[in-house]
């Protein structure tokens, strides 16, 4: 069966949707279709991909307006006559065709103060219990596909990349702050530098996460609560006024 695809072609300066038609096979995902178009119609069609099994987070695009991994989007999700429209992630600058410049994300990661474990007793291993790590293991499932960043209103529509690190890095911060061995305190930075207040909890990030991580409820909200407890709790506020807040 022949199917039509509208794929955005172009670079940072200009571009347009082009239509391609290919024959589908059983079990195909959207990335397979893109590859087939590459082989049959346009060898230079630019797309990022690696594992083709939802593990590496390279092949993020917008399919019929929805941010998705193209390797995990099966063609039988669409109705038979539906034209499939594929375009690059909107929140990031376009390099070419379906490939965007995601380097901003790598810069955010660099700004996050690294893991700082306590001393290990000589000859002894660290002890952490499963029930204490489960919460951050959920965050550590993140494959850095940046779909959550793409859909976040603060980054996508308001373009406030200077004010907010985005859901991905709130999650990374949560995984450090809640790490049983970590000794650092990132709460002031989370409020002042990383922009925890910018998130208005629309949960769009959680909605598009291919790993089904509860980004908002388990990651961002607890961090917001910690910020509130530290900076806006009236008792703490008075305490800090009287005794100082240790420079935080």
């Amino acid at each position: 069966m022949e199917r039509e695809f509208k794929i955005w072609r172009g670079d940072a300066e200009k571009g347009e949707f082009k239509t391609y038609s290919i024959k589908l096979e059983q079990g195909m995902v959207v990335l397979d279709a893109i590859h087939r178009i590459q082989v049959q119609h346009s060898n230079d069609l630019a797309v990022r991909w690696n594992c083709k099994a939802g593990k590496c987070g390279s092949c993020s695009v917008e399919i019929n307006g929805r941010p998705k991994l193209s390797c995990m989007t099966r063609m039988n999700e669409f109705s038979e006559n539906e034209v499939i429209t594929i375009q690059p992630m909107k929140a990031f600058p376009i390099i070419k065709d379906l490939v965007t410049d995601v380097s901003w994300n790598y810069e955010q990661n660099k700004m996050i103060p690294p893991f700082k474990p306590g001393e290990r007793k000589k000859g002894k291993d660290h002890v952490m219990y499963q029930q204490d790590v489960e919460r951050i293991q959920e965050f550590r499932k993140c494959i850095e596909c940046y779909l959550c960043q793409d859909v976040c209103h603060v980054l996508r529509d308001q373009d406030k990349k200077k004010n907010f690190v985005g859901p991905r890095f709130m999650l990374r911060l949560a995984s450090l702050e809640m790490h049983p061995l970590d000794q650092d305190d990132r709460i002031p930075k989370i409020k002042n530098d990383f922009g925890s207040g910018m998130c208005n909890i629309t949960r769009c990030c959680t909605d598009v996460c291919p790993e089904h991580i509860q980004i908002t409820d388990n990651g961002i909200i607890p961090l917001k609560e910690r910020v509130v407890d530290r900076f806006y709790d009236p008792v703490m506020w008075i305490y800090n006024k009287m005794f100082g807040n240790g420079g935080k």
Binding site: D11, E25, Q26, G27, M28, V29, D32, Q38, V39, N43, D44, L45, A46, V47, R48, W49, N50, C51, K52, A53, G54, K55, C56, G57, S58, M72, R74, I95, K96, D97, V99, D101, V102, S103, Y106, N109, K110, P114, F115, P117, R120, D125, H126, V127, M128, Y129, Q130, V133, I136, Q137, R140, K141, C142, I143, E144, R172, L176, H179, D182
Partner: protein, 610 residues
């Protein structure tokens, strides 16, 4: 042409490849205060390591305290059919526990035992539960930990940058020419030393668990620079890849499924692995379903189920069942964990397998069996290195991880790859640092050399007529899949080689259209010559080894031959083309031989070896 118009970046060490081995090597170089750069074909954190599932092998002894490095060493040698480099297997078994603890120190969060230590799971060929893991996404945990650790070190990461050729000055490494995927522009890295960590070349086969990046780049570049390749005939077919739907054929199904109790069944519902237990492993393998079940229930006296035999054995057994007409509807066999473990356990321990089958094949693995079959997964062979320093025979050129050969012999045990990456990544960094200290004088990159490389690359774009690079790649995959497969014959290998020879012409005349800017067609065309070196090397080595050992099976030479243990096959680039020769192995040091051939009782009692 004068390369003064080309972007130039200088480093003491350039690491090529940003998987586990590459990043670990770069960290070591940075720790030793070298100016360190790392280039990767993809974005940081997307390399193959991210796809590793089951775990990282290290004899921490957290789950079974009888474990120690000697038993890990012995298991590795037995798994590799004693063709491993003894010294590498020794270094690996001894240092793996420290590398795992170090990861935890850097923020990795492994699954825990009840006592709060790093948990370990069973895997094929490992005597005890030995694989530290995080569900079935261990590779992700490891690469992310390394990535997050390395961004706070003084390491320049150059992403989406692909190496083309190594440049030498009077035989010593002096640079590497590469291109940026984003712009298609060239960049010359002037460097005193190069550490290759480029992985294998699984993309030479049609059915593979490998991604587009795995085109043997390091193997090709090293070979052309005069380094030797070794053990190339040993290509691991992982027994369990997905077989349906067609578009996901080859995608990996972790051995952890079997480690956690999964069993293999043929179309008659028979647990066929009981019929394929090799004599050498009979003592340690359960011979009844009853005993295998007791083992699963934790009976320490029971022997291991036959599904956990080494990968070479299981892959061949599956192939035989399918050929005998006892396969599953789509040409594999059934892997069943649904009837063995509760749904909640499966979702907890194998979440990404659950997810993968649900999304890609519409199968709920907590309710139905999976269909699986062999898929090209890993290269045991690779660039020949000094076992301690990881240096090749080219001064200044190092290799580690999958692209280096020797550690795994004729067959790799699951879980020994992630540990290999870290152990030898660190050692390669160390080796490069020591080498740099011995250097005196200026190193140069010749203009001629640089312009030759650039011309060869841009010719592809300027060619009016020429083959479609994707189709030429498909032709190569089809040759390897047909003629250099999981079981081989002299006749097929000869035919395969002839076809490869003919395909070289097509590779030389391949063309890519449009500009060089992020042009996958051109990128693919550039990868082809490395794939060809890889494919030819495997085929020639497979021709020369006239026996069946580990992952290399010759139908015309069944069984291991004593003389097969006396040599490794080494591939070289000569004036008359690629040559393969047998290089005699040295006798192992007595203390290692004693451990390798010792009984378990002796090793558990710690009465053997220092």
């Amino acid at each position: 042409m004068d390369y003064s118009d080309i972007q130039t970046i200088e480093h003491d060490v350039l690491v090529v490849g940003a998987g586990g081995a590459g990043i670990r090597a770069a960290i070591e170089c940075a720790n030793q205060s070298l100016s360190t750069g790392i280039i990767s074909k993809s974005l940081l954190g997307k390399a193959h390591t991210v796809m590793a599932e089951g775990g990282i092998a290290a004899s921490l002894g957290n789950v079974d305290s009888r474990d120690n490095w000697k038993i890990h060493f012995r298991d590795t040698m037995r798994g590799g059919k004693f063709l491993n480099q003894w010294r590498m297997a020794e270094l690996h078994a001894k240092q793996a526990p420290d590398r795992v603890r170090e990861l935890e120190e850097w923020g990795a969060v492994f699954d825990r035992t009840e006592k709060g230590l790093i948990n370990q799971r069973n895997f094929g060929g490992h005597r005890y539960p030995r694989l530290a893991h995080v569900g079935d996404r261990t590779g992700l945990e490891i690469i992310r930990t390394l990535q997050d650790f390395c961004v706070h070190h003084d390491i320049s990461t150059h992403m989406e940058c692909t190496g083309l050729e190594i440049i030498l000055d009077e035989g010593k490494v002096s640079g590497l020419l590469a291109y940026w995927r984003e712009t298609g522009r060239f960049v010359l890295f002037k460097t005193k030393s190069i550490i290759l960590a480029t992985g294998g070349g699984g993309k030479a086969w049609k059915v593979t668990s490998n991604s587009w990046e795995y085109t043997g780049d390091g193997l090709g570049m090293a070979y052309r620079a005069g380094a030797e390749l070794m053990d190339m005939e040993f290509t691991q077919f992982h027994p369990t890849g997905m077989v349906w739907p067609p578009s996901v054929k080859g995608i990996l199904v972790t051995e952890g499924v079997r480690g956690d109790g999964g069993i293999l069944l043929n179309s008659e519902g028979e647990r066929f692995m009981f019929n394929y237990i090799p004599e050498k492993f009979a003592n340690e393998t359960a011979d009844t379903e009853e005993e295998a079940s007791r083992w699963l229930d934790g009976d320490r006296e029971a022997r291991r189920p036959p599904e956990l035999l080494t990968r070479d054995v299981v892959a061949r057994a599956i192939k035989k069942e399918v050929e005998a007409g006892r396969g599953s509807p789509n040409g594999g066999v059934f892997l069943d964990i649904a009837s063995r473990r509760p749904a909640e356990f499966i979702r907890k321990k194998l979440p990404s397998m659950y997810h993968q089958f649900k999304e890609l094949a519409e199968i709920d693995i907590t309710k139905s069996p999976m269909e699986v079959g062999p898929t090209l997964h890993y290269f045991m062979g690779g660039i020949r290195v000094n076992n301690d320093s990881q240096q090749t025979n080219v001064p200044g050129l190092f290799a580690c991880g999958e692209c280096a050969g020797g550690m795994h012999g004729a067959n790799r045990l699951g879980g020994n790859s992630l540990s290999d990456l870290l152990v030898f990544g660190k050692l390669a960094g160390d080796g490069a640092a020591k080498y740099i200290k011995t250097l005196t004088g200026q190193l140069n990159c010749s203009n001629d050399e640089v312009s030759k490389i650039i011309k060869a690359a841009t010719d592809i774009l300027n060619r009016e007529n020429g083959g479609n690079p994707y189709l030429v790649h498909e032709a190569l995959q089809s040759i390897m899949q047909t003629f250099v497969s999981i079981v081989r014959t002299g006749e097929e290998l000869e035919a395969g080689l002839e076809k490869l020879e003919k395909l070289k012409v097509d590779i030389n005349e391949v063309s890519a259209h449009a500009s060089a800017q992020y042009n996958p067609g051109w990128n693919e065309a550039l990868d082809l010559k490395n794939l060809m070196v890889t494919a030819e090397a495997v085929t020639r080595a497979a021709q020369m080894r006239k026996e069946s050992r580990g992952a290399h099976t010759r139908l015309d030479f069944p069984g291991e031959r004593d003389e097969g243990l006396e040599y490794n096959i080494v591939i070289k680039n000569t004036k008359s083309g690629m040559s393969a020769e047998k290089v005699m192995r040295k006798d192992p040091p007595k203390e290692l031989a004693d451990i390798g051939f010792a009984s378990l009782a002796e090793l558990e009692g710690d009465t053997i070896g220092a």
